[in-house]
């Protein structure tokens, strides 16, 4: 493992010429190639070394110059295989560059490779993929969570200093929580989705994993530029949060955090203890907690599975074996080939969600399910807006448990319920930071919580998240 714990440390070392970008890159590639955890789908060694060389020649200016990172394989990388963790795109070589990959490389970051995930981002365990499950490095009997599990693992195992995942219903915050990392889900519309393979377009958001909120700030500053190719991204320009953190001298935690205590009650005992401890400590440091009520959040999972699967059924229609992707030649006619290509190219969970979404949108059911779910979604959004009249942030568990054991077998519905606490944030389009805190008394695995901010309060949330993280360390 690299001697540098985070981006900022590595940046200082690079800047002071204690290490070269190439040396840093080689260190991380070495870990990646040991392949202890089945993290990577595609390694981009030559590409990375060449980039590192260029950075060394150019010198270190940006925070991300020479910083090794990985991308969830849902991010499009021009001329580098992009699989979405699916057999469907096993050999897909994108003819264009995605915005997030472009922005990060433009900022000087060095792409080490593409990491695994639940196929098309559908799952909470990183098991739903033909590329095989990924280990939780701290205890191989456990899984890192999903769908961006391998992204979290790449940071934890030391093959990357940060990683980009995507968060549709908790796919970054859940693995961050299970791995003891910081995961940040930006406001919907803060980061361009261009070049991010869509699962559920109105919920998906590119989201970074890193060791600290300061690192998150450095990443966010680089990926929030205005992108004319995504009409749903807010045209408000790049953030400038890292320098604000670095220049800030005010350590006071003058914030009011709303909390719906019934949410904590729903957690397993070890998690509950840890959460209560974090609240106590924050109160000690001057944070004001205020009881709030979010009455419609209990419907989140149901709303999510209607809306996300409906959108997915439409988003995944382009995978028909005509223009790209897996194609079966054995159909008796074109229609049959479509159905064969899709049933062989997609894994079980994807098929289940596409079928469910098709059902939710089909004639006769659409009003009852899809339209109704969108209305309950508005009520969830309104719950949060009401809360933000009384507090700056909302405190919430990330998951009722710690990481899942490999041998746990859950029904699809039980699996979906694990996202109970993360989903509301996506439905309301809010920013949220998963902050690690403490360890489970049951299995010593990481625990933590999330701080949810109001729409487009990303900068404030990252600054305050940094303060909270620092006092709890």
């Amino acid at each position: 493992m690299s001697e540098f714990k985070n981006i900022y440390d590595a940046h200082l070392a690079l800047k002071n010429k204690k290490i070269s970008a190439k040396e840093l890159c080689v260190e991380h590639i070495k870990v990646a190639k040991e392949n202890k955890n089945n993290t990577f789908i595609t390694l981009t060694e030559d590409f990375a070394l060449e980039k590192a060389k260029k950075i060394d020649e150019k010198g270190i200016n940006n925070h991300l110059d020479g910083i090794p990172f990985s991308l969830k394989d849902l991010f499009i990388t021009k001329n580098i295989r992009t699989t979405a963790g699916s057999k469907m795109l096993y050999n897909y070589i994108p003819p264009y560059e995605g915005t997030t990959s472009d922005n990060l490389q433009d900022a000087g970051a060095v792409l080490i490779g593409k990491v695994g995930c639940d196929e098309f981002g559908m799952g909470s365990s990183n098991e739903n993929t033909p590329f095989g499950p990924v280990n939780l490095p701290i205890n191989n009997d456990y899984l890192p969570g999903g769908s961006s599990g391998a992204s979290a693992v790449s940071v934890l195992e030391g093959s990357s200093l940060f990683s980009m995942g995507t968060d549709t219903g908790g796919s970054v915050r859940l693995p961050a929580n299970f791995c003891g990392l910081v995961g940040y889900k930006p406001t919907y519309g803060r980061v361009s989705r261009y070049g991010q393979i869509a699962y559920a377009s109105s919920l998906d958001q590119a989201s970074p994993f890193a060791k600290t909120p300061l690192d998150i700030a450095m990443i966010m500053d680089s990926i929030t530029k205005n992108d004319e190719k995504d009409s749903t991204q807010a045209p408000i320009g790049a953030m400038n949060s890292a320098s604000k953190i670095l220049n800030n001298t005010d350590k006071d935690l003058k914030m009011t955090i709303g909390i719906d205590r019934s949410m904590i009650e729903g957690c397993r005992e070890d998690v509950r203890d840890s959460l209560n401890q974090s609240i106590k400590e924050l109160e000690k440091k001057g944070v004001k907690f205020k009881d709030i009520s979010l009455p419609h959040l209990k419907y989140s999972v149901a709303v999510y599975y209607v809306i996300a699967t409906s959108e997915a059924s439409s988003n995944l229609a382009r995978f028909d074996g005509v223009h790209f992707g897996y194609s079966s030649k054995n159909g008796k006619d074109l229609e049959d080939s479509y159905a064969l290509s899709r049933s062989i190219g997609f894994h079980e969970e994807v098929k289940r969600r596409v079928l469910l979404g098709t059902f939710c949108l089909s004639s006769g059911y659409s009003d009852e399910y899809y339209s109704h779910a969108c209305k309950v979604r508005k009520l969830i959004y309104d719950d949060f807006q009401k809360a933000f009249k009384e507090c700056d942030y909302v405190y919430s568990p990330v998951c009722a448990t710690t990481a899942f054991r490999k041998d746990e077998i859950l029904t699809p519905l039980q699996m979906y319920m694990n996202d109970l606490y993360t989903i509301p944030v996506n439905l309301a389009g809010l920013p949220s930071m998963a902050i690690p805190y403490g360890k489970s008394s049951l299995n010593s695995l990481p625990t933590g919580f999330q701080l949810i901010g109001n729409s487009f309060k990303d900068e404030e949330l990252i600054l305050d998240g940094h303060k909270v993280f620092e006092v709890l360390k």
Partner: protein
């Protein structure tokens, strides 16, 4: 068709917009270019791509809405229509299902008796065209140059009763599209297509029967034939007491019959969903006002202006204004003309010019006989330099060669003879040779005058001035 039934028809028109680029990406619109050379990651639906609205396409749809008296929705939405087809690479079409950009418009049709009928337009929505499949024996090839071409779909209320009304409406829409310069509006080239929804109901009833939809009609003739075929097919079914099924049909140009594409309810479940990749389309009062102020003159306004400024009959103005280029031609001619023989100009345009242009399927803008040529010709007649007969004769030559009428007249010596003494000699000869006709004329049979003028013309190869000739006959016979 038996006249037991009343026909109820509504139509849907798809028109490709005249933008430079596609609806959601910056690819050049060049449908007939080399296969797949006008395609990018967006219009080939590569994973991870997103659409961005073409501002121009939105403006064009708004202009059309304003020209057809629609209400503009200040906020409209895009939806996805989901279906699998190889020339639809996304697996869905982006359209406007729930809230279109324009709604509740209308257009007046004026029939040959001058009776006005209002056809209501239910909605105008923005959407996109598909790619194109070409079919071979054992495979098909897909070309995406056309995929993502911006379209407007105009949906009417079921206000038509006859095929004639439908084609008149189509022609009217076509001319509006061209006047606004928002679409080429050409049925034959496929940049405008028409679907016909038709049902029958017993005369006097006001409950609509089950309708069928005939898709993708690409000529006025096909529209008429398809309507006639559906009218008699449905009437026959109803006569036999059978049910008309709600079906989507295709019209076969070779047989003149329709065949079933699909029966509603089986595969026709489009699972509409709001397009999450595009935000609501918002239009401000100011946008609308600006567009309204800059709207080009529409056919109806031009007709009224021509009637007022050039004192031509409304019928003439309607014919001339039905085509923008023809109206421009006429107007240019009138502006070059120094007199006020506008009606003469309109006659020449409507009769002689249109005949030649239609025969040659030519473009009025590029023919050799320019407005300047036409005006010169009319003025030669007006000033008595040539006769109308001569003018008609040289018209074709001017059309074919582009030589000026005055030059042809001069070269061939076709100028009208107005020399009284020369004509007088000829008149005298004719009088002498036809004593019987002289008697008839003298006894008051005025029509015989034509005989004398004709004879003089024959003798002079049409060059004698007919007015001078008849005056001379009157004088010499002392009538």
């Amino acid at each position: 068709m038996s006249n037991k039934y009343e026909t109820v028809i509504g139509i849907e028109i798809h028109a490709q917009l005249n933008t430079k680029t596609k609806a959601w990406c910056n690819c050049e619109l060049k449908i007939n270019g080399f296969e797949n050379h006008y395609v990018c990651e967006v219009c080939s639906a590569q994973p991870g791509t997103l659409p961005v609205v073409n501002k121009q396409a939105v403006e064009y749809a708004l202009m059309l809405g304003l020209a057809t008296d629609c209400n503009i929705n200040k906020t409209s939405f895009y939806d996805r229509k989901n279906y699998f087809y190889p020339d639809l690479p996304k697996g869905y079409q982006i359209t406007q299902f729930h809230t279109p950009i324009c709604k509740d418009g209308s257009l007046d049709l004026i029939d040959e008796n001058g009776v006005t009928k209002k056809i209501r337009i239910e909605r105008i929505q923005l959407e996109e065209d598909t790619g194109k499949s070409t079919h071979y024996n054992d495979y098909s090839l897909v070309n995406l140059n056309r995929a993502g071409t911006p379209l407007v779909e105009i949906v009417t209320m079921p206000d038509f009763k006859t095929a004639k009304e439908v084609t008149n409406f189509l022609k009217k829409i076509q001319s509006i599209l061209v006047y606004l310069d928002v679409s080429k509006g050409n049925l034959q080239d496929g940049n405008m297509r028409c679907d016909v929804n038709l049902s029958l109901m017993p005369k006097g009833s006001n409950t609509f029967g089950t309708r069928t939809e005939v898709k993708n009609l690409n000529s006025f003739r096909s529209v008429e034939r398809a309507i006639a075929h559906e009218q008699s097919r449905q009437a026959q079914l109803l006569d036999k007491g059978e049910e008309v099924l709600q079906q989507t049909l295709l019209f076969d140009v070779d047989t003149g019959a329709t065949r079933v594409l699909r029966t509603k309810s089986d595969a026709d479940d489009y699972r509409y969903i709001p397009e999450p990749d595009l935000l609501a389309l918002s239009v401000t009062e100011e946008n609308i006002r600006k567009l309204k102020d800059n709207l080009p003159e529409l056919p109806t306004d031009k007709v009224n202006r021509f009637v007022k400024d050039f004192k031509i009959p409304k019928y003439d103005a309607e014919v001339i204004c039905s085509e923008k280029k023809l109206a421009n031609y006429f107007e240019e001619a009138c502006s070059l003309h120094s007199g006020n023989a506008y009606k003469k100009i309109s006659n020449w345009v409507m009769v002689e010019l249109l005949k030649l242009v239609n025969e040659a399927k030519a473009d009025v803008e590029t023919i050799k006989l320019t407005p300047k040529h036409l005006v010169e010709l009319v003025e030669l007649i007006e000033s008595g330099k040539i006769s109308g007969k001569i003018a008609k004769e040289i018209f074709v030559e001017v059309y074919d060669t582009g030589n000026y009428p005055s030059a042809i007249v001069k070269e061939k010596g076709l100028e009208q003879n107005s020399d009284s003494s020369e004509i007088e000699e000829i008149v005298k000869e004719i009088i002498k040779a036809h004593p019987k006709e002289v008697e008839e004329l003298k006894s008051g049979r005025d029509r015989v005058m034509g005989f004398f003028v004709g004879q003089v013309m024959k003798k002079t190869q049409g060059k004698a001035n007919p007015k001078i000739t008849s005056d001379l006959v009157t004088k010499l016979l002392d009538l």
